[in-house]
């Protein structure tokens, strides 16, 4: 490896010695009197002089010695091939589409390699105005495309900005690849801010919420760790990983690059055959089996398998909405907790909270808890999270005892479970299952009528606009398009009114419930849909938008089409409920809850906010009669390939 060109703060050994001599002489002449040209006698030179400050410092400081032989030629040019070019070659080998960054000097080597050596193509560098935005974009992008993106940022200040988004990705089992710049060698660091931005162990700040990290110290080491990071992130349970890019490693030149390591992805972990067989036996022999799915399906193949399993058993599927798991207009589809109360066997698939699924908790002064289950109900769990969890953050939720626990990836295990169910199924049990199917079809027809009555009865013509009205207006305009919902689900009205069939049509929520996720994740998801020419729709909470509204600029700058509808209810309503509980439990005045919970006085003009960043802004719309035309105008803009934001003043819920 050749060394990079000398820094201004380095001292050449010969020049250093000469400098010391000059300094010493200067010290002498400054304190002793010379023989003057006029012939006057100069003062006597003392045998010993007090050294100057400069001289003293030169004696006690440790100089940097550069290797002259390594950079013959122009002293301002580096020699050899930049290490960051090799890093980019490794990234390209993994077919990464995007590196998302708020520019950081500690990543300048890789930044330059991407835009010059790599011609800014595959991966393309995208600009964001906050590291939380970039990381959440990578989170959303993965959930649409199934491919990880890289969030590139400073190792200290950038990583701290990104931390909240990393936590969301961690809780949501999303494989974001974090890359952060850092300068390990104190002797090579630029002084001042770059040194302030350097850190011994940057990953320690987020190690509890990432699956793996490394700080490579050679290019060979980087190549191996890049492959390892990708494999670990993309093996269920998917999680974020982090690589620290040493500045010197990025910037130094080398004569030749190491080979790029080969990589084969591990097959996802599947369930133990005996445990799967036992689970099938319980399900087939149950009178009322219920399957609950949270982050169960990673792809459309998973959705298809889950449909097959439910139809074999005619088991109700309770969708907790962590991913698009099941077609919502299927007669076996359900939401909520009611089916669990009637079950004699509950199969939980990648549940975040099995305890909360089968137990009720009331937020009252007694913190009352009770089981939702029928006496003797059996529980089966399949989740890859059993294979990997950490202790500090409590996203693992309460411990729930189960009867069969299968530590495996659900999607990879479903085919063997389906086969086992077929083997266990007898004509008698088939008849029982068929009867359940008939009942489910009848209940489904009733649920459609109930949905229409609920929608009409929930402030249909009111101003501000109701959730059901907005969702119905939208559906009438998008149902013939290739649409996808990339934002929050607005009280589950889309699941009641729309027709979700494809895995990419819904990406679930944030995971960690860290506010500020929705807008940037929607931007990342929309980026994934752009490649496929789809119409992405984001129903955007207003408070969430204001965490990092610069994501709107990224939409415009990178020409990402996205229909954003601002769910502008002008308050943090979730927090209002908590304040009302506190005041009521304490029997105190009930008219102060608005303090620090409302987003008004002044009202935010989201259309103007969008306009200011190059995104077409429409609204505010508070009359439901005006909604249809505004939505149509917005959809036309998105179909032209541009982003748009429609500000709709909404009911609180």
């Amino acid at each position: 490896m050749t060394k990079k060109t000398s820094h201004s703060n380095k001292v050449d050994r010969r020049k250093f010695l000469a400098g010391v001599a000059v300094a010493g002489a200067a010290a002498v002449t400054s304190e002793a009197k010379a023989i003057l040209p006029s012939g006057k006698e100069a003062p006597r030179v003392p045998s010993v002089v007090r050294p100057s400050t400069q001289f003293a410092q030169a004696q006690i400081s440790t100089p940097t010695v550069t290797d002259h032989g390594a950079h013959a030629g122009h002293p301002g040019l580096m020699h050899g091939k930049p290490g960051s070019d090799y890093m980019l070659d490794c990234i390209k080998a993994l077919d990464i589409d995007y590196v998302i960054t708020n520019p950081a000097s500690s990543c300048r080597g890789l930044h330059d390699s991407i835009i010059t050596y790599g011609d800014n193509k595959k991966p393309e560098l995208l600009t964001v105005m906050h590291e939380e935005t970039g990381t959440a974009m990578a989170h959303g992008y993965f959930k649409v495309t199934g491919k990880p993106a890289i969030s590139l940022c400073h190792g200290t200040v950038g990583l701290q900005h990104a931390a909240m988004a990393i936590y969301n990705a961690w809780c949501d089992r999303a494989p974001v690849i974090m890359m952060i710049g850092n300068s390990l060698d104190a002797n090579q660091r630029r002084p001042g801010v770059p040194t302030t931005h350097s850190v011994q162990d940057p990953a320690s700040m987020v190690r509890d919420i990432i699956k793996w990290d490394d700080q490579p110290t050679s290019l060979v080491h980087f190549g191996e760790s890049m492959m390892r990071a990708y494999r670990i992130a993309m093996t269920p349970p998917y999680e974020p990983v982090l690589l620290v890019l040493d500045e010197d490693l990025q910037e130094h030149g080398v004569e030749s690059f190491p080979r790029i390591p080969k990589m084969a992805m591990p097959a996802p972990p599947t369930g133990n055959p005996n445990a799967v067989r036992e689970a099938a036996r319980l399900l087939v022999n149950a009178d009322n089996p219920v399957i609950v799915a949270d982050r169960a399906c990673r792809t459309q193949a998973g959705v298809n398998s889950l449909v097959q399993l439910c139809e074999l058993l005619n088991a109700t599927l309770v969708d907790q909405g962590g991913r698009m798991n099941f077609p919502n207009q299927h007669p076996l589809y359900a939401r909520g907790t009611a089916p669990v109360t009637q079950a004699d066997v509950v199969l939980g698939l990648e549940l975040t909270d099995f305890f909360g699924t089968v137990n009720e908790f009331i937020d009252n002064p007694g913190a009352e808890q009770s089981s939702r289950l029928k006496q003797g109900a059996k529980l089966i769990s399949i989740t890859a999270v059993d294979l990997y969890m950490k202790s500090n953050f409590q996203d693992i939720q309460r411990y729930q005892p189960v009867d069969i626990s299968i530590a495996a990836d659900t999607e990879a295990t479903l085919p063997s479970l389906i086969e086992a169910v077929k083997v266990e199924m007898t004509p008698a049990r088939r008849a029982v299952a068929d009867k359940r199917g008939q009942a489910a079809k009848a209940a489904y027809a009733q649920s459609k009528e109930r949905m229409r009555a609920d929608a009409a009865g929930q402030a249909w013509n009111a101003s501000p606009v109701s959730s059901s009205r907005l969702v119905a207006e939208l559906w009438s305009l998008i149902k013939t398009e290739d649409w996808a919902l990339v934002g929050r689900s607005l009280g589950n009205w889309p699941q009641r009114m729309w027709d979700f069939k494809q895995h990419h049509q819904f990406i679930g929520g944030s995971g960690g419930a860290g506010v500020g996720y929705n807008l940037p994740a929607a931007v990342g998801a929309a980026l994934g849909h752009k490649q496929m020419g789809r119409l992405p729709i984001n129903i955007q909470p207003d408070g969430d938008c204001m965490y990092a509204p610069g994501a709107l600029w990224t939409l415009a700058h990178h020409q990402i089409p996205l229909l954003t509808i601002m769910n502008n209810n002008r308050a943090y309503h979730q927090e209002v409920m908590h304040l009302q509980r506190m005041a009521a439990w304490r029997n105190r005045r009930m008219d102060r809850w608005h303090i620090a919970t409302k987003i008004d006085n002044p009202n935010v003009s989201y259309a103007k906010l969008a306009d200011s960043m190059g995104v077409a802004g429409i609204g505010p719309i508070d009359n439901p009669a005006d909604l249809g035309a505004a939505l149509k105008r917005g959809i036309d803009i998105v179909k032209r390939g541009e982003p748009v934001l429609i500000d709709v003043v909404m009911q609180p819920r």
Binding site: N364, A462, M577, R581, H594, Q651
Partner: protein, 122 residues
Amino acid sequence: MKLVIFASVVLSAALFAGAAAIGAPAPAGDAVKGKASYLKYGCYTCHGYEGQGAAATGKKLAPNPLAYPAFTGFVRSTSRDMPPFTEQILPEQDLMDIHAYLRSIPAAPNPATIPLLQGAGG
């Protein structure tokens, strides 16, 4: 404990689903003042400006609210996720006004007359 909770659920469901039919006389109340109180006490944040309710946060209150005895009984004594509002923090007259406001909310349109809803649900 479990029995108590079960009883509470049953009571709540009965109160919200069927007590309007009991036909108790409506109390005196001012709907205009009631709307102001409905906002002041933050009822709307869970139940909506029109008392329409929302699946995750608050039950439907209007149109056709519970008869006043059942209504006030629940508001004063609930131990569910909605906390109890005692007379000390929500005076009886304010609660009567709120009830008047809820009674003033017009009936919902017939869903069969709304074309948008005919295409909803896949």
